[in-house]
Structure formats: structure tokens, C-alpha cells
Amino acid sequence: MFKDLDPVLHAQLRLAVMSLLIGIEQADFTFLKEKTQSTAGNLSVQLTKLEEAGYITIEKTYDHKRPRTICRVTPAGIAAFEAYVTALKTYLGGTS
């Protein structure tokens, strides 16, 4: 039987963000925006969805009076990502 793909992760920008954060412990908003080549508005919305799912934490700080948003992947996010990749392999391998 095929496993369901996590709908939170099975969206292009959210998956791109999670893939970046899996390889990096933390990244700021500018870095994520640059690497995913997304718009600030869309990225912001998708980050909030990932945060609501408990997959990332978002910390808002200041660097020399300039606002800065730092994103970190959570253990739940890592587990969800691993489960997603496993499910993906099942689909691609065509086995249950």
C-alpha cells in the first residue's frame, strides 16, 4: 500500500525550504529567499505554515537595528522530512 505524502511538505516552496534547512542548522529569511528565488510574501506565508505544523521555529531578532528572521528545523520537522523521503521512495520504487 502506498503511503500518503505529507501535504505540508508536498508543496514546492515548503519542500525547498525544508530541504535547505535539513542540510543547515539554521538560516535567515534572506538566505532562504535567495536560494529558493521566491517572493518575500510567498516565502513568509509558507514559513508560517511550516511553523504551524511544528516543522520549523521562527525567531525574529535585530541585527544593528535591522530586523532579522531566523529559521531552524525542529526534531518534528526532521522526522516529517525523513518520513516524506521514505514515502517518496515507496512511490518511485513502486513498492509498498
Binding site: 505524502l5 508536498h10 508543496a11 514546492q12 516552496l13 515548503r14 519542500l15 525547498a16 530541504s19 535547505l20 535539513i22 542540510g23 543547515i24 542548522e25 539554521q26 538560516a27 535567515d28 534572506t30 538566505f31 536560494k35 529558493t36 528565488q37 521566491s38 517572493t39 510567498n42 516565502l43 509558507q46 541585527d63 523521503v85 517518496l88 512511490y91 518511485l92
Partner: protein, 192 residues
């Protein structure tokens, strides 16, 4: 690239994951080589100063040249704090390297404090520890010149045991090339 949210096929998902992970991999922070270069210049300056003062006839005062180590120590701490503030990303390897350099700094201070008991061996110890730090950093960055710099330091450290004091200070100073050049090359390679 992503101006709106849409869903993908499984193949597209896998391709995206691979692409993003590759993007984040092998990333070197700007100025990463500075810390090794600063320690290199500090050790070179202290060695030459120690040698110079000793040759001028003040052997008792010469070891004070190593107070320059505090410059390296201050730079290490300030660099770590500032880098942490402005880093756009922090990886597990970044944290390991920060700890490695902090550990090296603590060892340097301890060797400095024990200098009178260790005698001239303290310089060899400094060189050995420096070699270790470079060797591990080179592996972390997958940057061989840094690892070879570490090996060069170990060779210099062993070689210094066969050269009478204070001339082995000159070997210590000469070994600087083993860490300044890789540090400079690393800065050139830095892409973030």
C-alpha cells in the same frame, strides 16, 4: 522560481530535494580563513620577537613576547561572536569548528600559563596543537591545503626538537607559511 505554491510529481520532489541540499552543501563562510591567518601572524610575531629579544641579551624578558597570544585570543572570541551575529546560516560543522578554535584558544592560554614548567617544549606544543586545528578544519571544509598546512606544522614541531633553543623559534616562525597560505586560499574559496 517559486512565485506561487503548486504541487509536484514524486520525481520533481526528489529533484528539488537533491538540488536544495546541494545548494546548502560545501558552503564556506566569508572570512573563514582569517582566524587561522591571525593566529599564524601572532605566532610568527611572537617567535621572532622572542628570538630578537633573546639575541639582544635579555633572555629573561624574551618570553614576554608571547603575551601577543592575547591578540589571537581576543580575535578568536570577537570573530566568533560577530560571525554568529551576522551569519546567514549556521551548520553543524560551523558549530564544531567554533568549538575547535575555542578549545585551541583555551589550550594556548593554558600552555602560556604553564610556560615556565614546560620550558622550551611549550613552543613545540603550540605548533602541534595548531597543526591539529588546521588538520581538522581542512577535513571539515574538504579543503586539502588547510590539512596540508596542519601536516607542515607537525613536521616543523618535530623538527624544532632537533634544533637548539632559541633557533627553533625561527623554525616556528618559518612554519607560518603552512597556515597563512591555506588561510588566504580558503578566503578566496569562501562563497557565502
Amino acid at each position: 522560481m517559486f512565485t506561487k505554491t503548486f504541487y509536484m510529481t514524486e520525481q520533481e520532489s526528489l529533484r528539488l530535494i537533491t538540488e536544495m541540499i546541494d545548494t546548502a552543501r560545501n558552503r564556506i563562510r566569508r572570512g573563514e580563513g582569517n582566524i587561522s591567518m591571525v593566529w599564524g601572524y601572532v605566532v610568527m610575531a611572537a617567535s621572532l620577537l622572542h628570538f630578537g629579544i633573546d639575541r639582544m641579551g635579555y633572555p629573561a624578558q624574551a618570553p614576554y613576547a608571547w603575551l601577543l597570544i592575547f591578540i589571537g585570543m581576543a580575535y578568536s572570541v570577537i570573530f566568533s561572536i560577530l560571525q554568529h551575529r551576522k551569519d546567514r546560516t549556521v551548520t553543524h560543522i560551523d558549530r564544531i569548528l567554533d568549538h575547535l578554535w575555542l578549545g585551541f584558544t583555551i589550550c594556548m592560554v593554558t600552555i602560556g600559563a604553564l610556560g615556565s614548567q614546560l620550558g622550551t617544549y611549550s613552543f613545540t606544543l603550540i605548533e602541534l596543537l595548531y597543526g591539529l586545528t588546521l588538520f581538522v578544519s581542512g577535513a571539515a571544509f574538504r579543503f586539502q591545503p588547510l590539512s596540508w598546512g596542519g601536516v607542515w606544522c607537525w613536521i616543523a614541531a618535530i623538527g624544532s626538537l632537533f634544533v637548539p633553543f632559541p633557533y627553533h623559534l625561527l623554525i616556528l616562525a618559518a612554519s607560518v607559511l603552512g597556515y597563512i597560505i591555506p588561510g588566504w586560499l580558503l578566503n578566496r574559496k569562501a562563497n557565502v
